[in-house]
Structures are given as structure tokens and as C-alpha cells.
Amino acid sequence: MEHRLRAPLSDDDVRRLRVGDAVLLDGTVWGLRDATLIRIFDHGQAPPVDLRGGVLLHVAPSVRPSAAAPSGYEPMTVGTTTSTRMERFTRGLLRDYGVRAIIGKGGLLDDSSAAFAEYGGAYLAIVGGAASVETEQVEAIEHVYWEDLMPECLWQFRVRAFGPLTVAMDAQGASVYRDVARTARERLAEIYAKMGLKS
């Protein structure tokens, strides 16, 4: 199924999504990653914005100063980083700040999957490394918070037809990564046998 959604997302928006669905997103996306999340959770500083219904993107963009841009910056390259490093922050983002979806690449693990089921959230997989496509879909950087963390600030992007995104973890607790890993392990046993390797 294909969805065209506008962020921030409603409870219903998220709960309708099923793994394997395709999503194109409009509206506000919040960019953050390692240093931003360490500040929020390890240093206990709440984000200076309302993230309820929010869609996050694991990113540290390349930007250049621009007097014309609302935030003072225009995007040069906006591309997605590996989400797995940010695994331990998912639950807190959903529970404490009402985040509804995380866009990333490489996937999240079992506790994130459980949190998506518990609080009603989803992980939307983007094609990693295709930043030139992503950058074209960012209309503007509207605000930037915590500039001292450059480039790992909290970025407020306005996006249009952002994607294509694949629902890889849904609010039902399903995870494509878990399924693919299980299949790969099963097939690996067959491949071992075919190659004459002992497990």
C-alpha cells in the first residue's frame, strides 16, 4: 500500500502503516543523531521544541550560511546515517516526547520494535547513500537548535514528497529487519550444507 502523509502525524496515521508499505512524506521532519540524543538523554536536556507526533530523521547535514533562509542555513547535502547506533534512544523519544516515526537506514533492533508497538510508532527506511535525491526533497531548513553541536544540531526541515520511504517496522510490532535476518540465518544453514561447510 502507498501512503502520502503530512507530518506531524496523528495516532491513526501511524497505526494504519504496515511493514512493506511505501510512504511519501510532506511537512516537518526533525533531523538529529548521536550528539543530539546524548544531550537529551545522557545530559538530561529536554529538546527546546514540541516533538509530539513528530517524525525524526537520523542525519547530520552539510549546510552553508544563507541570509535568505529562515534558519540562516541552506542545505547542501542532507543524507541519512545508520540508525542502529541510535537504538537505545528510541523508547525515550516515543515515551517522553511523543515522537511517532523515525526515518533512517540500516534499521533498529528489538527494543525499538517493542517501543513502536507499545506507543504506536513506526520506522521508515530510506535508501541510504542517496543523499542527492533526499536533498532535492528538502524545501528549507526552517530552524536550527543547539548550533554548538554542529553538524549534529537539532534541525527543523520542511520536506516535500520526501522518500520513497519503506515501512520497515510498524506499530503492530512487525519488523522487516527481524524477518530478513531470520530468513538469512535459515538460508545460511542451507548454503553451508551446499558448500560442504559444517555449522
Binding site: 512493506g20 511505501a22 542525519v59 547530520a60 547535514p61 552539510s62 552553508r64 547542501m76 547535502t77 542532507v78 543524507g79 541519512t80 546515517t81 545508520t82 542502529t84 537506514k105 540500516g106 534499521g107 527506511a125 535508501v127 541510504g128 547513500g129 542517496a130 543523499a131 542527492s132 535525491v133 536533498t135 532535492e136 553538524p151 520513497p164 519503506t166 520497515a168 522487516v176 529487519y177 524477518d179 530478513v180 535476518a181 530468513t183 538469512a184 540465518r185 538460508r187 545460511l188 548454503i191 553451508y192 558448500m195 560442504g196 561447510l197 559444517k198
Partner: protein
């Protein structure tokens, strides 16, 4: 002994090369990688996977058109330098000039500096620091030029680096299992379809270097030794049989290729290393001749 010429204007030449190669490697993807991705998209039976491969091809087209980076990760700058016969060069000055080139590229383009100090995590915003760029320098009697290959190595794939000092009793079977297991463990994290480099033999440091160097070889170019070439094909097909697929979301295309490089090792050792390169396979090459002529390629 062949006659030796001193390269004219060497410092300016290498500074400019360092700058150009570091930027161009991130904009212009090598033709062999593009072809492999096109073939994979045509072959792929999983619809979602086909869509992702198509987005990768689109990203390269956008970058060609707009001359922008394909990926935001500017990587760790790594240079592979081979100095041929008949050229005199101040080696230390050459490395220093390449380093300045990388710093200029970062400031002038501008590029995000992805390099921080190891302990305090400080970023100088130059893409350089202690030990970075990484330089591999070797010599060859087979060429009459200086070969410089630039690889901006992204962290998603570089994080998926593995070394195991296997035992002789583990044999080649142990090597095969290690490569298959690491590919499954890596899953979608290194931005598959990857080019997997495998080092077999040597010391621990040489083994890892061989694995990384193997990822530089053009996709589809087999190892010259038939036995190793056959092992590359066997491992490539086995990994593609796992179904991990593009970005780890399932499909037929997990690797574009597997490349193996070997070295002799100690009687008690059986080292194997795996290093992965993401689907972009970024690399840019220059051949610098004794008269100052430069050929740019991949």
C-alpha cells in the same frame, strides 16, 4: 637502472590532485559500479528492492546533473599511492601536498568534515588530523608513473570491518564461514549491495589492508589466479543467496561483488579480514607521469 626524472611542480600538482580527487570521488561514481547496479536492478525479482536500486541510480544521475555529493558522508580520506620506476619525488612533500588538497577541498567546496580526534572527539573542520588522511604507499617496477587512488571511506560500511586470526586447522572452510557470517551479521548497515573485500593471509595488519584494498578493484574484474577467482564467485553467489537485499530490506542483491586479495602467512596462522564498501564504490584515480602529465580515471 633506468634514467630518473624529477617531476616538475610536484607540490602544486599533488595539492591540486588531492583536492580534485577527494571532491570528484564523491560526485562521480565509477562506471563499473553504475553498470553493476543497472544489471542488478534489471535482474532483481523483489519489487521493493528494485525500487531501491532505482533510487540509487537516480541519486547518481542527480549528482551528475547538479555536481553534488551522492552521499552526505564525506568519509575518512584514504590514499593508495604506488610509485613506479623512473620518477624522482620528495615523498614527504607529496603526502603533505595531498593533505593540503583535502583541507582545501573541505574549505572551498565546502564539505562536511567527518574527522574528529580519537579521545576528545574534536573536529578541526579540515577533514584531516593525526594519521588522517590515511596514506598507503608502495612501489612497483611494473609502471612508469605514480598511481594515486583516492577513497573517501564512509562510516556505515567502514564500521562493518572484521578480522579473525583463524587456526590452520580451520582451513579454507573457516575462511568461507567467516565471510558468510559477517555478511549476515552486517545486514543492512553497510548500505548494501556492497562490494565485500576479503583479505586472506599475511599478518593481522596486512590482512586488513588487503581486505580494504580488494574493495578498490573494479566490480566484475576477477582475481588473476583462477582458484581465487572461483572462490570470489562462490562467496558472491552464496551471500546473494541469503536474501538480505538492498539496504537489508530483502531481495536478491546483497553484494555487487566479492573481491579477495591474499598474502603468504605464518605456518601457525590463518588470518581472514572482511572490509565492506557501500553501493557507491567511491574511488577516483590519477596517473602522474614524469613529465607532469596527469590522466584522471577510476
Amino acid at each position: 637502472m633506468t634514467s630518473v626524472s624529477t617531476l616538475p611542480n610536484a607540490e602544486a600538482l599533488f595539492e591540486d590532485l588531492g583536492r580534485r580527487l577527494y571532491v570528484d570521488a564523491q560526485i562521480d561514481i565509477p562506471p563499473d559500479v553504475r553498470e553493476a547496479l543497472r544489471e542488478a536492478a534489471a535482474r532483481e525479482s523483489n519489487r521493493g528492492a528494485r525500487g531501491m536500486l532505482t533510487t540509487m541510480l537516480r541519486a547518481m544521475d542527480v549528482s551528475d546533473r547538479k555536481q553534488t555529493l551522492v552521499c552526505q558522508d564525506t568519509g575518512i580520506p584514504i590514499f593508495w599511492i604506488t610509485i613506479g620506476r623512473g620518477i624522482a619525488i620528495d615523498g614527504a612533500a607529496m603526502l603533505e601536498a595531498l593533505r593540503r588538497g583535502v583541507e582545501r577541498a573541505t574549505e572551498e567546496t565546502p564539505l562536511r568534515s567527518s574527522i574528529v580526534s580519537a579521545i576528545r572527539r574534536e573536529n578541526r573542520h579540515t577533514s584531516t588530523g593525526d594519521g588522517v588522511p590515511v596514506f598507503h604507499v608502495e612501489f612497483s617496477a611494473d609502471i612508469d608513473y605514480i598511481d594515486v587512488v583516492m577513497m573517501p571511506k564512509g562510516s556505515g560500511s567502514e564500521s562493518m570491518s572484521f578480522l579473525k586470526m583463524l587456526l590452520p586447522a580451520d582451513g579454507l572452510a573457516g575462511v568461507k564461514k567467516f565471510v558468510l557470517d559477517t555478511a549476515v551479521e552486517a545486514g543492512g548497515r553497510p548500505c548494501p549491495p556492497t562490494i565485500i573485500g576479503v583479505g586472506i593471509g599475511g599478518s593481522s595488519d596486512l590482512c586488513m589492508t588487503l581486505a580494504k584494498k580488494a574493495t578498490l578493484r573494479p566490480v566484475g574484474q576477477r582475481h588473476p589466479q583462477a582458484e581465487i577467482a572461483a572462490l570470489e564467485v562462490e562467496l558472491r553467489d552464496a551471500i546473494n543467496g541469503t536474501g538480505i537485499g538492498p539496504m537489508g530490506l530483502g531481495g536478491d542483491t546483497t553484494v555487487l561483488d566479492v573481491h579477495i586479495e591474499t598474502a603468504w602467512t605464518h605456518i601457525t596462522l590463518n588470518p581472514v579480514a572482511v572490509n565492506m564498501q557501500c553501493w557507491r564504490g567511491e574511488r577516483r584515480r590519477a596517473r602522474v607521469y614524469a613529465d607532469g602529465r596527469v590522466d584522471i580515471g577510476y
